[in-house]
Amino acid sequence: MSETLTHSQHGTSPLQHQFDDLGQQWHANTIGMWLFLATEILFFGGLFVSYLVYRSTYPEAFAEASRHMDVLAGTVNTAVLIGSSLMMALAVQSAQLGANKLVQRFTLLTMFLGTVFLVIKVWEYYHKYTEQLIPGANFAYEGAMRHQVEMLFVFYFVMTGMHALHMFIGLGLLTYILILARRNAFSREYFFPAEVVGLYWHFVDLVWIFLFPLLYLIGAHYQGPVHK
């Protein structure tokens, strides 16, 4: 990739000691992040499978629980996250062009939208708390199939909570990209930290794209078992 950057310039070069050149370092970092995302798919996959098993076992209870979701907040959040993914993509492209000022601007926008998402999420959680729908001691739902309805709320909080945790980690990673951009670290040869963080951010957004319909949308329109 770069013939000019070698170990002789190690003081200033971003090349790490175990690699021969930046191309190798880029390759390793990219494969590493893709593999990490594969582990994340399996991690969330376990949750999705469990959710689907119970959803098919207790469709009425899950439909009932879905009606307590705030569809408007979920829809706004979906739009916010898609917007943040766009900003992220622009930040990555700016990094590839070595335009450090633009990287800063787009990274800040990504972080802003990510924060908006989390604020709305916390607001939703707070409403669940006031409605006493948080599983455990707080859970005060008194309709039919109480335990099964509670189970959906368990999955709601675990899945969105795990997703929010990943958003927090993403905000930390974006801060790192911001610092790199402020130091004018990105160039046409060295851009892959932004690229790798971008992969992560898009993945976290994609998880939400699956969570939103599963938790908010499909249950609410359940009409009971289909009779032919």
Partner: protein, 543 residues
Amino acid sequence: MRIASQPTYAEKVPINYLNAEHGLKSWLLTVDHKRIAILYLLSVTAFFLVGGLFALLIRLELLTPQGDLVRSDVYNRLFTMHGIVMIFFFLIPSIPAVLGNFIIPIMLGARDLAFPKLNLLSWYLYMIGGILTLYAVLAGGVGTGWTFYTPYSTVYSNSHVMVTAIGVFITGFSSILTGLNFIVTTHTMRAPGLTWSRMPLFMWSLYATSLIQVLGTPVLAIAILLVGIERLWGVGIFNPALGGDPVLFQHLFWFYSHPAVYIMVLPAFGVISELIQNFSKKRIFGYKFVAGASVAIAVYGFLVWGHHMFTTTQSVYAGMIFSFLSFFIAIPSAIKVFNWTATLYQGSISYQTPMLYAIGFIGLFVIGGLTGLYLATMGVDIHVHDTYFVVAHFHFIMVGGSVLAYLGGIHYWWPKISGKMYPDGWGRFSALVVFVGFNLTFLPQFILGYLGMPRRYHAYPEEFWVLNVFSTAGASILGVGYFLPLVYLIWSWFYGPEAPANPWQARGLEWQVPSPPPTTNFPAPPLVTQETYEYSLEEAEVV
């Protein structure tokens, strides 16, 4: 293979990874894969001793038919802690994290793994998980069985389930990061000329192992997380009284934990492939099949978890498919065994210590593998499910397979790791003791299980007494067999004669660097011009 410029030994003590830096800090903050391997070596050995202590207490209790040494709930905790410590803190990290960490970058002709800092983080995660688990042991232990089956683990058990579960959860991430590091290293750090089809078979095995670690472990993490949430919040994810499904937990658990068996045994295959070739001085028979079988096992390993659940509510048709696939996975394992034995044919075999372990491995693994086919047969499995037959079967794989290969590998690469030679006579003697002790311990358990002795009970009818005495006697011999290498290897570290760079006249890049290797492994990136195992060529033509 050829290295551009072979480093010459300095007059007195050459600089190597051991004496390059001194002090505790230089070890605890190191990013050198070789030093991290030593950190792992010390810690897995400590956990092996802890797990062994539990095994000792189990066998002592079973020496007599009455439950006279410990109460039944204490016995539950003994076998649980034995399983958890041995599986998560010894077997899974043993070969990959110790031997793999040390050898992989050198085998590939690299200066280090792709992510050295991540490698150190893996060790710290492993230690944090291990210390939490040891805390649970000291605080009173956990009695759920290593499988954490629900709803016992979430509702009824009043032992230290949460601390242990968090310990296993954290250690899982150590395993994931190690696997990720190895895969990326294999893809990106190979020396020029070291193509996939020239790669050592140890690499193929660890690559396949890493795939399972990366793809399986997250599912265990989520299963444990859900157990923790159920236990803390008192909700019913897996508790049938609250609408949950305990069998779902078993599916999630075994989706990881059956492939985990291959995490433990695939690296052993890799070690054995290296040992068999070197000590018969012959290229492996059917390189591509042996390499491909490792990957095939990693893939099929994900499709057979249901054979742990033949006696649950899993549907009969699912059971039949799982049964069929479990038979199917015996094929790649058998390919390996046949190819090792075919490699021995007309080889110049020398019976040094590592080779004795390798030959012992083949015999015991064949028994362990074939009894696995009994268990894959649904009808037979109903009869022997949860008996000592199962216990004997998986100990043949885990101890007769993985532990023997680990010991063989440690003996093989010890001169490279320590720079010292150990007394081969003692080595051969202890290999023999391990083999005899192992068979005496576990062969009787096949019979016990077939006669119907269930696992996980601290008392048994008197008709099972004699065989249990044999088993306990064998365990004592096995203990001696483990203790001997601990003594003479530590002795050799301080007092053993200096090891040459290539004491076995072996092939492979790791034997072309000095023993012990310098911190950067190679003075310049090596250029590989041949496949690894050209034992037909004379030494002079290769180096």
